[in-house]
Each structure stands twice: as structure tokens, then as C-alpha cells.
């Protein structure tokens, strides 16, 4: 996975090997269950559209962690002017975001390795 110096070279690597290095703007192209023994579990969206619209969650934050954000904002509103009481909710939300990013990084690395395998002809489809 990306070490700190790798980030600076990532653009050069993408420029040199555009067929192997996935662009950060591209979604995964391979079958999601390729190489897994049992089917992967789907990510579940817990907060509904109705809830998010009611809580006025910005469109950029309507991801798989939105329910934790709603809890955090509700907690803040209940405990104002002592939002420090919501440290648990905030930590839960930020952890969810962190795990979401780890998942995206894993997906990227998987895509990269599968592309490399496919180019070498080692991939059995």
C-alpha cells in the first residue's frame, strides 16, 4: 500500500504505466468476487434518504458512514453548549471514515495487482 514517498511518485508511475496503474478516478473493473472462495458481503447503507434529507446532511457526506454523522450531529444538538460530551460519537464517525478509506485503498491495490496478473497472463477468468 502507499507509503508516503509513493504518493509523490504515483503520478509519474501512472504516466509511465497507464495500463497497469489504475487512475484514482476509475472504478474497479474486475469481477468483485474474483479470487474469493466465498462471495464478499455487500456494504450496507444504514441511513435512509429521508433521514439524511431531514438531518440536512451535505451531499458529499451521504456515504456509508452517514448514520454515524447523523448520530454525532444529534448528540451535539442535545448536549450544546457542551459538545465535548459527543467525543464518543465523533470518534465513531471518524473511525468509520478511516475504515471506509482503508477499504478504498484495498480495492485500489486489488485492482492494480489484478491488472498486473492479467497482463502477465496468470489470471484465470
Amino acid at each position: 500500500m502507499g507509503q508516503s514517498l509513493d504518493v509523490y511518485q504515483s503520478g509519474i508511475k501512472l504516466y509511465r504505466n497507464p495500463d497497469i496503474i489504475p487512475s484514482p478516478l476509475d472504478d474497479p473493473t474486475f469481477d468483485p468476487n474474483l479470487g474469493f472462495k466465498k462471495p464478499r458481503t455487500e456494504r450496507v447503507m444504514i441511513a435512509t434518504d429521508e433521514e439524511m434529507r431531514s438531518a440536512k446532511i451535505p451531499l458529499a457526506n451521504r456515504d456509508y458512514c452517514a448514520h454515524k454523522l447523523i448520530e454525532f450531529k444529534a448528540c451535539r444538538k442535545e448536549n450544546w453548549p457542551f459538545p465535548v460530551k459527543c467525543q464518543h460519537e465523533k470518534h465513531a464517525y471518524l473511525t468509520c471514515q478511516y475504515e471506509d478509506f482503508i477499504m478504498r485503498m484495498k480495492e485500489y491495490e486489488r485492482e492494480k495487482r489484478l491488472r498486473l496478473k492479467a497482463k502477465k497472463g496468470e489470471l484465470e477468468i
Binding site: L14, M103, R104
Partner: protein
């Protein structure tokens, strides 16, 4: 007329209100003007030209008046414009404050070219063309470097953010 009378006269004239007085008189007194400052009429014939050259103590081949186009310079000769700022500061001028010698003829716009005014002989170094070329060069180089770096822009190794939506499926790694 004694000096005190002159002073009295001068003083009285200088305090005249402008709206009901002879404005020419007021101007001449206030600004120390006298008729000798005024150039003669524009020389139309060769004889007049020679006379004007002699009047200004110049050789007829050097003497050239301004065009008679209504600016009122009359027979006053053209001199090469040189501002005081570009004159030699080490030369022992008779009037160092103007960098001017006694009886030295003045350019028509002498009051514009004094040291505290405009320097008509100023030439930028490097010249304007070179400065423009330098500007274009620096800016193009900057944009070239920006463009080159933009081709290999770094990014975090992650797929685009996953948002739930109709027909979209995302998977965990559990």
C-alpha cells in the same frame, strides 16, 4: 522712482482682486514677467530669419524656429531637449541648481526638464523590449513547469469515494 515706491506699487498690484482688474498687468507683476521674455514674430522671409538668428546669437545654419502652428513660440529657436538630470553633475555649472551656465539658451520647455521634474533623456536599462521578453520568458517557464507537473499529478492510492446509489454495489473485504 525709489525702491520703496516700487515696492508699494508692486504690493498694491499684487493685492488687486482678479475679477475687476487688468489681468495682464496682474500676471506680469505677480510672475515677474517682462516684454523681453516674449519671442518675436515668426520669421517669414529670409531676411527676417537672418535677423532672428542674429538676435539669438546663433549661426543661421543652426537656427530653426518652431512651426508657426499657433503655439505662440514665434521666432524662438529649437534646441535639443536635454533634461538637467542627464547633464554632467561634476561640471562646474554657473547655476548648479539648474545645471545651467550664464547666458546659456533655454529650451522652450525648460521648466519641464528640471531636475525635480521629468527626465526626457531617461532610457530604461534593460530596455522595454528586453524587459517584456524577460517577463514573457519567466511567465512561460513558470507555466511550462506547472504544465509538466500537472501531467504527473500525485494522488492517494485509493478508488473514488464509494457512495450508495441505485444499481451501485460496493463490497467489504471481510
Amino acid at each position: 522712482m525709489s525702491s520703496s515706491q516700487i515696492f508699494k506699487c508692486y504690493n498694491r498690484l499684487s493685492r488687486l482682486p482678479l475679477n475687476n482688474s487688468n489681468s495682464v498687468l496682474v500676471t506680469s507683476v505677480r510672475n515677474h514677467w517682462n516684454k523681453d521674455y516674449k519671442p518675436g514674430p515668426f520669421p517669414k522671409t529670409e531676411a527676417e530669419r537672418l535677423a532672428a538668428a542674429k538676435k539669438y546669437d546663433m549661426h543661421p545654419s543652426e537656427y530653426a524656429p518652431y512651426n508657426d502652428d499657433g503655439t505662440g513660440f514665434g521666432d524662438y529657436p529649437k534646441f535639443k531637449a536635454q533634461s538637467a538630470e542627464s547633464k554632467d553633475p561634476n561640471y562646474p555649472w554657473d547655476f548648479p541648481e539648474f545645471k545651467r551656465n550664464f547666458n546659456e539658451p533655454l529650451h522652450v520647455q525648460f521648466d519641464l526638464f528640471r531636475e525635480d521634474r521629468y527626465d526626457i533623456n531617461y532610457r530604461p536599462n534593460p530596455s522595454c523590449k528586453v524587459q517584456f521578453a524577460q517577463y514573457i520568458g519567466v511567465m512561460s517557464l513558470s507555466f511550462l513547469i506547472y504544465w509538466l507537473c500537472d501531467q504527473v499529478k500525485g494522488f492517494l492510492p485509493a478508488v473514488p469515494k464509494q457512495y450508495p446509489g441505485v444499481g451501485k454495489k460496493h463490497y467489504t473485504f471481510d
